[in-house]
């Protein structure tokens, strides 16, 4: 992961932008916030264009989620972390389907946000516990087939919020926990419409030997 991670924050609440900026800048190593604003435009105009990661609030001053903005960013090949106050599974799964690399609820703290931004900067997904729960509870027809082990990792991660705990419980290493989560996200990325970020995610996973073409 590169040390000079750059991000742009789109949120209609100045206090949230300030908070996120603080969390990112005080993380170690610091993440540079190159732009911020209350409209998604800041991500594709001015200095925001160059940011590696877009932290996008899904509810910008309205009741309808900013899904068109997310779609445009994803189609432009941007790495998007959705940061939402809404915890409903359907919205989370919808954002995954469009091609966001992570979906965080605002009740999830700085830790998860920083990790998600770092992963996104490297073009990788990050599955926070709430999203793991949404994936585990997914009842859609198109949901990918997960192995029992993958499901168990997903559920335990959702339940405990501690990867160390999951590793101990299932008697596997921390990196195995991570690769299971990554595999799950890749399986999800492989279904539905292909977006540049999703294609990149799958391609990288195949190259890394994380997942075989047969698994998709």
């Amino acid at each position: 992961m590169a040390d000079d991670v750059t991000a742009v924050v789109v949120d209609d609440h100045p206090v949230v932008r300030a908070g996120v900026a603080h969390w990112l800048s005080t993380s170690e190593p610091p993440i540079t916030l190159v732009a911020q604003g209350d409209h998604a435009e800041v991500a594709w105009t001015g200095p925001g264009t160059a940011a590696q990661v877009v932290v996008l609030d899904l509810h910008l001053g309205g009741s309808t989620p900013a899904l068109p903005a997310l779609r445009r960013l994803v189609e432009d090949g941007r790495n998007v972390v959705v940061y939402s106050m809404r915890a409903d599974d359907e919205t989370a799964l919808q954002c995954m389907e469009i091609g966001a690399l992570s979906y965080l609820t605002k009740s999830e703290g700085a830790d998860h946000l920083v990790q998600a931004v770092r992963a996104a900067a490297a073009g990788q997904s990050y599955t926070p516990p709430a999203l793991a729960g949404a994936l585990a509870g997914d009842r859609s027809e198109t949901r990918p087939a997960l192995s029992p082990r993958e499901t168990e990792v997903l559920v335990e991660w959702f339940q405990s919020e501690s990867k160390e705990f999951v590793a101990q419980r299932l008697n596997i290493t921390l990196s195995t926990v991570n690769s299971h989560l990554e595999r799950i996200r890749v399986k999800y990325a492989a279904i539905g419409r292909q977006a540049p970020t999703k294609a990149a995610l799958v391609a990288r996973a195949v190259q890394d030997g994380l997942i075989g073409l047969d698994d998709l």
Binding site: S107, G133, R139
Partner: protein
């Protein structure tokens, strides 16, 4: 007494009562008619000089008698209209034939075999149709009297006695039948109401008992704890007692939430337990995933119990999660806990797993929806 108008009965019990009364009445009337026809009228018919039409009338009545006997023998208490009305017409026809066949001046005399008999026939045929019976009987008597007056040779005094005595006995029989039907109906109604009241009473008693035992069962650890505290078997100063109180508090809170009418009862009960733990100073995060599915009360109780117990002894932080996958409902809690988890009854329908890893206790209850 309202002879003509029968209340609409909607209860089979009342119909059965009418049935029984009418069946008995008809059997008695049948015996009476047979006795009169064979024992009293046949000798009168034979010994006096009647026109041949009298024998036709007698045969006609005998035929009606056979049909009615058949119906009664078949177990039918009430005569169908198809039998009763033509039967009554035949009886009236017999009345006409027999009366016109009488020797001169014999009306209401010893030779007049048919007058009383036809009245009994009408009663036998129309016992459950009082209005038609009154009309037919009226016609029969009116014709007999008219013939008597037309004949003009009889003794009016004797005729009056015969008409009044014969008719009043028949009317008396009718009144008795109707009174019996009415009283039996009232008695059956009273019995039905009494039974219904008994049933309601029994149901209420059963319900109260169910509530009592159900509540006692759900109160779980609360009642023994209160008893121990009251008996001073345990002291509120003990750590163990405080732990039991803590468990009891969560159980009570869950129990209060159990009967609330909410869209997602399971989540509602979980929230109630979380609420109690938070009051104790535990920082609890609650995560929910998947859509609400119906979970029976008994299963909800078992799903929530392990997590409620873990929360009762938790200190510091706790994470409670509710996950509803397509085929499972899973309630889990991960806590920092120093105290030992209290004992718990083995659940019937959910699988419970509790484990400790690195100072964290994880307790999970799973229920398969399929």
């Amino acid at each position: 007494m309202t002879l003509g108008c029968r209340p609409p009965f909607d209860r089979p019990g009342l119909l059965m009562t009418d049935h029984a009364v009418l069946a008995t009445a008809r059997q008695v009337l049948l015996v009476v008619v047979v006795a009169i026809q064979l024992g009293l009228t046949l000798p009168a018919l034979v010994t006096h000089d009647h026109a041949p039409a009298a024998w036709v009338a007698f045969a006609l009545l005998a035929a009606v008698l056979a049909l009615v006997s058949g119906s009664v023998a078949a177990g039918r208490a009430e005569l169908p209209a198809a039998l009763a009305l033509p039967g009554a017409a035949a009886a009236l026809t017999s009345s006409f034939l027999a009366t016109t066949a009488l020797p001169g001046g014999a009306s209401f005399g010893p030779a007049d075999w048919a007058f009383g008999l036809v009245g009994w026939y009408l009663l036998l045929l129309l016992a459950e149709r009082p209005k038609i019976l009154a009309t037919a009987l009226g016609a029969h008597i009116a014709f007999s009297i008219a013939w008597f007056l037309h004949d003009g040779n009889g003794d009016a005094g004797t005729a009056g006695v015969v008409v009044l005595s014969g008719t009043s006995v028949q009317l008396g029989a009718l009144v008795i039948i109707r009174v019996l039907v009415r009283d039996a109906r009232l008695a059956a109604q009273a019995a039905t109401e009494h039974d219904a009241a008994r049933t309601r009473e029994e149901l209420a008693r059963q319900r109260e008992q169910d509530l009592r035992t159900g509540f006692a069962g759900q109160l779980g650890a609360v009642l023994p704890l209160l008893a121990d505290l009251a008996d001073e078997v345990v002291s509120a100063g003990d750590e163990a007692t405080r732990l039991r109180c803590s468990v009891a508090a969560v159980q009570l809170r869950r129990l209060f939430a159990e009967n609330d009418d909410v869209p997602d009862p399971l989540l509602h009960e979980l929230t109630a337990c979380v609420d109690v733990a938070e009051r104790r100073g535990v920082v609890v995060s609650l995560a929910v995933s998947g859509v609400a599915t119906p979970v029976p009360t008994e299963v909800r109780r078992e799903l929530v119990a392990p997590m409620a117990r873990a929360l009762a002894v938790a200190d510091g932080r706790a994470k409670v999660s509710l996950l509803r996958t397509p085929d499972e409902v899973r309630v889990a809690v991960v806590t920092q806990a120093s105290g030992a988890l209290p004992d718990q009854d083995a659940p019937a329908s959910v699988a419970v797993e509790t484990s400790v890893h690195g100072g964290l206790v994880r307790s999970e209850a799973r229920w398969r929806t399929t």
